[in-house]
């Protein structure tokens, strides 16, 4: 799993109006441009409404294109799922029968149209492998993965906010320097190495107190079996917390250095008031994009963690499906994951716009 560095470079324009350039892959900067282009009718309807509509339409289009890309990539590429599933012992006739059964003898556009129209009705086909409806196969695993991602977010969002603000207020103290160095080092370790290290430390070799393998009982919710979620969740926390914390710390420092905080100080406002009412709210907005990015990165990173701990989630299901070319399962999972990432980005953009006063009221005042 990888995470962007959150080296945030902000330029101050006016108090409480931020133009933020981040190197993160989701840049708030983009939002400004979009608003500029969309914000012509601001006097009749709320300025942000056309922008949101446009943003939603473009996301929907994106999902359709993604479904086409995924379908084309999985269906057209040189591989023969029928042969993979039946194995080397099967006769050519048996493979041919199976291929027909899978509908693979039809032209690809026909296959796509059939597939997408069924998918829209909630029928994603049957797993080639286990012959179970894909939706049924994924549902339980999805729940487990969501439980994992949710419990990680519950830890890292407040954790990074607290730690980031805490460190920013003690900028360049020994504790800040130690934490920043530790976070840089942690960020460099590949997540599978973190996972194996934690497994050795807490499950098998040093302190065998936690189960090494996440054998969830499929009849219960993952939340009812938290013991199995600790190690995978901890791995993801260690892999994502440094990035988020440093971003919050960075933007908090920017805010503290800004003119309006200085002028607030000059006006004699209390330190506590300045921090809580002015600094933190402004420092949190860039964190929204960062949380969105972390979540989408985690959706990818969950794969390795689930494989290491045999956690029955959507990531390990995808890894298996890719390995054996279980195409309906791959298609459904990848389209779902990509769709979720798009949705998360959309929500983050909307949240950023709605929470930034300037963007909400005067979208046309910035940019060209």
């Amino acid at each position: 799993m990888t995470i962007n560095t959150g080296t945030t470079i902000s330029k101050l324009e006016q108090p409480r109006r931020w133009k933020i350039k981040t190197q993160s892959r989701r840049s708030t900067f983009i939002s400004f441009e979009r608003i500029t282009q969309a914000g012509t009718n601001q006097y009749t309807i709320p300025a942000w409404l056309p922008w949101i509509v446009k943003r939603i339409v473009s996301s929907l289009l994106g999902i359709i294109v993604i479904s086409m890309l995924v379908f084309a990539a999985t269906q057209a590429l040189p591989s023969d799922p029928a042969r993979v599933i039946l194995g080397p012992e099967a006769t050519e006739d048996a493979v041919e029968v199976f291929r027909k059964h899978l509908g693979m003898d039809q032209p690809i556009t026909t296959q796509y149209v059939k597939w997408i129209s069924r998918a829209l009705q909630g029928d994603w086909g049957h797993s080639i492998d286990s012959n179970i409806p894909v939706t049924q196969l994924i549902a339980g695993r999805l729940e487990n993965s969501l439980a994992l991602v949710a419990s990680v977010l519950i830890v890292i969002i407040p954790g990074s906010l607290f730690l980031g603000v805490f460190l920013a207020l003690r900028r360049d103290s020994w504790i800040d320097r130690t934490c920043v160095s530790a976070m840089i080092a942690l960020k460099a370790i590949p997540s599978f190495a973190i996972a194996i290290g934690l497994m050795m430390l807490l499950a098998t070799s040093v302190f065998p107190v936690l189960p090494a393998v996440s054998l969830l009982d499929p009849n219960q919710s993952a939340f009812a079996q938290p013991i199995f979620m600790i190690l995978p969740a901890l791995t993801l926390v260690i892999a994502t917390l440094p990035y988020l914390t440093r971003l919050v710390r960075g933007s908090m420092i920017e805010v503290l250095d800004s003119e309006f905080i200085t002028s607030a100080r000059l006006r004699g406002l209390k330190h506590r008031t300045i921090i809580w009412q002015y600094a933190i709210p402004n420092a949190v907005i860039p964190a929204i994009q960062a949380i969105a990015l972390t979540t989408s990165v985690m959706i990818g990173g969950v794969l390795i963690v689930e494989v290491v701990f045999t956690y029955p989630g959507i990531g390990s299901a995808l890894n298996s499906a890719v390995d054996i070319r279980d195409i309906p399962v791959i298609q459904a999972i990848v389209v779902f994951l990509a769709g979720s990432v798009m949705l998360i980005n959309l929500l983050a953009d909307i949240a950023t716009v709605m929470l930034t006063p300037r963007l909400r009221t005067q979208p046309a005042s910035t940019g060209a």
Binding site: T7, F29, I30, I66, I184, K187, A188, L318, A338
Partner: protein
């Protein structure tokens, strides 16, 4: 911001120094290692999972290769693949981003939309999918990793270009009738090169993580080649019998990722003017 101020800042910045030392050290090890290795990385010179002895500094691996020799020979693939993937992403992404930011309008919207679409595929999943379908040729892996990085670079270079292109001196050069080509390369590129360079360091450390992760899942470099990621994977089952065969390459991977990461961090800090901790 002039060059001498830059070099001064860099010299003062111990983070950059450490990052540079680490990255350069690993790079040297990877480049020179194959010549320094006492054995061929493929020679079966000792017992399976044999312990370290006079002949093998770090013991033997799952087939009886010398771990030390494989370690020396095994850095090259990771180093060149991560550098190639990052540089390709950087160059092509910078160009596309500049074009988008400079011309704006429909071109910009189209490019942004497509990079949004590709952004929706989590890195590892995109790469896994393509590698599983098309095979594990090193160049294919490099290209796919760079495609996964592309949207990030495009967004970065586009957003900086957008800011610069609106500044007066660029508008002046446009009025003076300079060619678009010249403006892009002579006026804009120098201004966006520093942030891009920082991003290169970041991408390098991601690439190391991704490539090692791919090897871990069994989709990376093919055996019998010596490769650090592959070494971790193939010796993992024997971790309890011969830990060096797993730990040594894992540590080198982490150090390389750490080095490039520190470099990027340090440069980023130096550029954004945040003073280094004293």
């Amino acid at each position: 911001m002039n060059i001498s101020a830059w070099t001064k800042k860099i010299r003062q910045n111990s983070q950059i120094g450490l990052g540079f030392t680490l990255s350069a050290g690993i790079l040297l090890l990877a480049l020179l290692g194959p010549w320094l290795a006492p054995h061929s990385p493929l020679d079966l010179v000792g017992p399976r999972y044999g312990s370290p002895d006079a002949n093998a500094l770090l013991g033997y691996d799952y087939l009886g290769h010398d771990v030390w020799s494989r370690l020396l020979s095994g850095g090259l693939s990771l180093v060149w693949m991560s550098i190639a993937a990052s540089v390709i992403a950087l160059v092509s992404g910078a160009l596309i981003g500049m074009v988008a930011g400079f011309f704006r309008g429909r071109i910009d919207q189209t490019i942004l939309w497509w990079s949004d679409v590709f952004l929706a595929f989590p890195n590892l999943i995109l790469i896994l999918l393509v590698v599983a379908m098309l095979g594990r040729d090193p160049w294919l892996i490099v290209i796919i990793v760079s495609i996964a990085f592309l949207p990030g670079v495009i967004r970065l270079s586009r957003s900086i270009t957008l800011g610069i292109a609106q500044q007066e001196y660029i508008e002046a050069t446009t009025m003076m009738g300079y060619s678009t080509y010249r403006i892009l390369l002579r006026e804009i590129l120098p201004n966006i090169s520093m942030p891009l360079l920082i991003h290169l360091g970041t991408m390098l450390s991601w690439a190391v993580g991704i490539l090692a992760g791919l090897s871990f899942l069994g989709y990376g470099v093919e055996p019998p080649a010596a490769d650090w990621g592959l070494m971790v994977n193939e010796n993992r089952a024997g971790l309890q019998i011969q830990p060096y065969a797993v730990l040594a390459p894992a540590i080198l991977i982490a150090l390389f990722a750490l080095g490039t990461n520190l470099l990027a961090e340090g440069l980023g800090r130096a550029q954004s003017g945040i003073k280094e901790a004293r």
